[in-house]
């Protein structure tokens, strides 16, 4: 069968060892795929795609002046994470979230970590995600990051690293849930045989995470979306629907006497908790960007007074800063007295002279990213860039060194992926979703993003990446 030609010599493959034998957790999947055969696999793949299209599970792409609605390319061959590996990852993620939350609380209040000399003050204060308006804030239950999507990658040796923390408005959990539904229909026989850990209860958990932020016994909860043209709009409406809460836009809201209301057919109605999917600085034109058309005047003041809970709390963007990211092992050590369970990717800070020199001399071997970028924009992958592109990028770095970090090019692990009528190796990352309510919950699995172009390391959906279902076996 066509899997026989699969190339396993290039780095770490999730399914096959270098010698070409399937890893233990994939044995059943492999034999099932062989018995189905290529034609059947392709048939099931195309019916899965049809189902996604008719469900309208799409994201919006911009470009050429016209917006396009696309389905996220979906690959039917799942990625499997063995249980023992998962348990370690789960511990590591919990540790990271607890430490980052303590960091946020500290940095907007006592700033002990700065005073103790662990992180230089200028790094904090020069971060675009650091909002001085949040100084002195103490959000309900001391929780800042209620929802996190942390990106993990395996290197060429198979070791998991944290690539970045997404603590503002991480997207993608709706694809995890929808992909799983489609997979259950596509391969019912696999679900019968394998003990795959469930993810369907995520919306309920998210809802209780939000309820945890208020003392109201029957709170009014809303998901706040920038609107139908936002690239993650599908997810916003999906989550509101699955949680059974309101989906609101800025124009639906209004603040009076520091209380947030929504405009309903029966007049104004008070809102208690808002899961916002809109960036900090667009939230409130009175406090942050005055030009924001998406925001609601006075909402930040209402939040400060404790009249509405916001998830995630404003100000968490500081921990998304990739320079701060490089300090997370120290942050864990400082607040928890523990070593980081999941290592970071080695990171060079261009604001440090020694690092900058190294980056400029070795740019052809490095990935350089803006400290506050997202979606794979504004970065350079040294080995894939032309000489000229490298030179141009060096100029950018020198103009704004604080804003750039560099990392070695990781040879991300690969997973067999159906490409046209063949199975080929494609690079992947993994974004598990973490909820911080009464306790920290890590969704078993997460979103596996796939770089669909051969050899490509860019997995972002905005750059043509796809996704796979991720199975943690119980």
């Amino acid at each position: 069968m066509f899997i026989a030609d699969y190339d396993t010599k290039n780095g770490y493959d999730e399914m096959f060892s270098h010698e070409g034998s399937a890893r233990k957790s994939y044995h059943f999947l492999k034999s099932k795929m062989e018995s189905l055969g290529g034609i059947e696999l392709i048939k099931r793949s195309s019916s899965a795609e049809k189902a996604l299209l008719s469900l309208g599970i799409t994201f919006t792409l911009y470009g050429d002046g016209e917006q396009q609605e696309r389905i996220m390319p979906f690959d039917v061959i799942p990625r499997i994470v063995p249980n023992e590996e998962w348990e370690k990852m789960e511990k590591g993620l919990k540790q990271r979230i607890l430490a980052l939350n303590l960091f946020l609380q500290d940095i907007y209040n006592e700033q002990k970590i700065v005073k103790d000399g662990i992180i230089p003050r200028e790094i904090i204060e020069s971060s675009t995600g650091y909002l001085k308006e949040c100084i002195g804030l103490k959000p309900p239950q001391g929780i800042w990051i209620h929802i996190t999507g942390t990106d993990l990658v395996r290197d060429g040796e198979g070791t998991f690293h944290v690539l970045e923390d997404n603590l503002r408005c991480p997207s993608g959990v709706s694809y995890v849930l929808e992909n799983r539904e489609v997979m259950k229909r596509t391969f019912p026989e696999l679900f019968d045989k394998l003990n795959i850990r469930q993810v369907y209860d995520y919306p309920y958990r998210l809802r209780s995470t939000l309820e945890n932020l208020t003392y109201e016994s029957n709170p009014v909860i809303a998901v706040w979306t920038p609107g139908v043209y936002n690239s993650a709009y599908y997810e916003h409406s999906f989550l509101a629907q699955k949680m059974g809460v309101y989906l609101v836009e800025g124009s639906d809201l209004l603040v009076e006497n520091d209380i947030v209301y929504m405009k309903t057919t029966k007049g104004l109605k008070k809102i208690d908790v808002i899961y916002r999917r809109i960036d900090d600085t667009f939230m409130d034109p009175d406090t942050f960007r005055a030009d924001s058309l998406l925001g609601v005047k006075g909402i930040f003041q209402a939040f400060k007074k404790g009249n509405v809970a916001l998830a995630n709390a404003p100000g968490t963007g500081i921990a998304d800063d990739k320079v701060i990211y490089s300090f997370v092992p120290q942050i864990i050590k400082y607040y928890l007295g523990e070593e980081a369970i999941i290592p970071n990717v080695p990171t060079y800070l261009c604001s440090i002279e020694k690092d900058l020199k190294y980056v400029l001399e070795n740019i052809h071997n490095l990935v350089v990213k803006p400290a506050n970028g997202a979606g794979g924009y504004g970065m350079i992958i040294g080995p894939k860039a032309s000489k000229q592109e490298q030179e141009d990028f060096k100029k950018l770095i020198l103009e704004d060194a604080r804003n750039y970090i560099a990392q070695p090019v990781l040879n991300l692990s690969t997973v067999p992926t159906l490409i046209a009528d063949k199975i080929e190796a494609r690079h992947v990352d993994l974004r598990p979703f973490i909820l911080f309510g009464k306790e920290v919950y890590v969704m078993p699995g997460g979103l596996t993003r796939v770089a669909l172009r051969k050899g490509s390391l860019v997995v972002n959906s905005s750059q043509g990446g796809g996704s796979k279902d991720t199975w943690v076996l119980g």
Binding site: L55, S237, L247, K263
Partner: protein, 322 residues
């Protein structure tokens, strides 16, 4: 319920109702044209007059050939009421309130939209294959449109709670339906007969019959009346309390839905939208078809449309603009 959501639910249903009506209009006119021979005048322009979009049409098309009218009413993206635009807008509204409707409803609408989008592309790219636009494929397409709209209604009915969302759905649906019934009756005003002697002729009756069919009313009409007669057709489509496309029926549904969304129990002040509907409905119920014909049917239908617009404006004022 959010005012924005209420408005989107309302429009989503208006657009679906409009698409369904257009599909029926075109199909019936198509069937009628097959019954007529070449000596009779062109029957396609009245369709455009009926929908109120003659101005847009005349700017773009030279003459009302079957092909141009059909293209205009089905796929033209410059015609705000073309079937394509209606379904696209209904789906956009649905997308913006996705969390308020059921997944089956969304699937029906989304698949409907994807189908029309593909069909439209093929239709526009292959002008030669469609001839005069009266191919067999057209009838199938229109029947698909009609069925999809009805599937949407059925799916709504059986998969969402009959609460506020539902009541605003009915408001949109019945307001649009009442408007379209007046327009279809008015179509007879625009269809010219070759001469005055033809009043009451086979051709005249054939045209009246086709109006009944355009509202899918001919069978129900036949159950109640013995033969095709203009006055009785008007009576049926305006005043019949039981037929779901008659003006009185639609207004009654609007009155009931308004009562539900207003949340006003006895003793509380009613809102202006409710007042407008009840007053007008009482007036209509006191009319009889002869008094209508005395005023002139065309003028009378104009009045109904004005009243419906007034009611629509009051609904907007009361519920969508807070």
């Amino acid at each position: 319920m959010l005012s924005r959501v209420a408005e989107s639910v309302f429009w989503m249903n208006r657009y679906i109702e409009r698409a369904e009506n257009y599909a029926r209009f075109i199909d019936v006119n198509h069937q009628l044209s097959l019954d007529l021979n070449e000596d009779f005048p062109n029957q396609w322009m009245p369709l455009v007059y009926t929908t109120g979009d003659a101005e847009v049409f005349e700017k773009k098309y030279e003459s009302p050939t079957p092909a141009s009218v059909i293209q205009f009413m089905t796929f033209d993206d410059e015609n705000p009421s073309s079937i394509y635009n209606c379904v696209q807008r209904a789906r956009e509204n649905a997308r913006s309130i996705r969390e308020n409707i059921s997944t089956p409803m969304w699937e029906v609408l989304n698949e409907f939209y994807l189908f029309i989008k593909d069909y439209r592309k093929q239709y526009l790219e292959n002008p030669e294959s469609r001839g005069e636009g009266l191919s067999l494929g057209l009838s199938e397409f229109l029947s698909y449109v009609r069925k999809s709209c009805q599937t949407f209604y059925g799916t709504s009915d059986s998969t969402i709670s009959h609460d506020e969302v539902w009541s605003f759905s009915l408001l949109g649906r019945f307001l649009e339906r009442a408007d379209k019934t007046t327009r279809i009756l008015d179509m007879k005003y625009f269809i010219l007969l070759p001469s005055i002697q033809d009043v009451g002729s086979t051709l005249d009756l054939l045209q009246w019959m086709s109006l009944l069919k355009s509202t899918s009313a001919h069978e129900m009409y036949n159950r109640k009346y013995k033969k095709v007669h203009p006055i009785e057709i008007a009576e049926f489509l305006i005043l019949d309390p039981a037929f779901p496309r008659s003006i009185v029926f639609c207004l009654h549904e609007i009155e009931e839905s308004l009562e539900k969304v207003s949340g006003n129990k006895e003793g509380l002040p009613r809102n202006l939208a409710q007042d407008a509907v009840t007053t007008y409905l009482n007036r209509l119920r006191s009319e009889n078809v002869h008094s209508i014909f005395d005023k002139g049917l065309h003028e009378y239908l104009d009045d109904i449309q004005i009243e419906l617009n007034r009611i629509g404006a009051k609904i907007l004022e009361r519920f969508f603009k807070s």
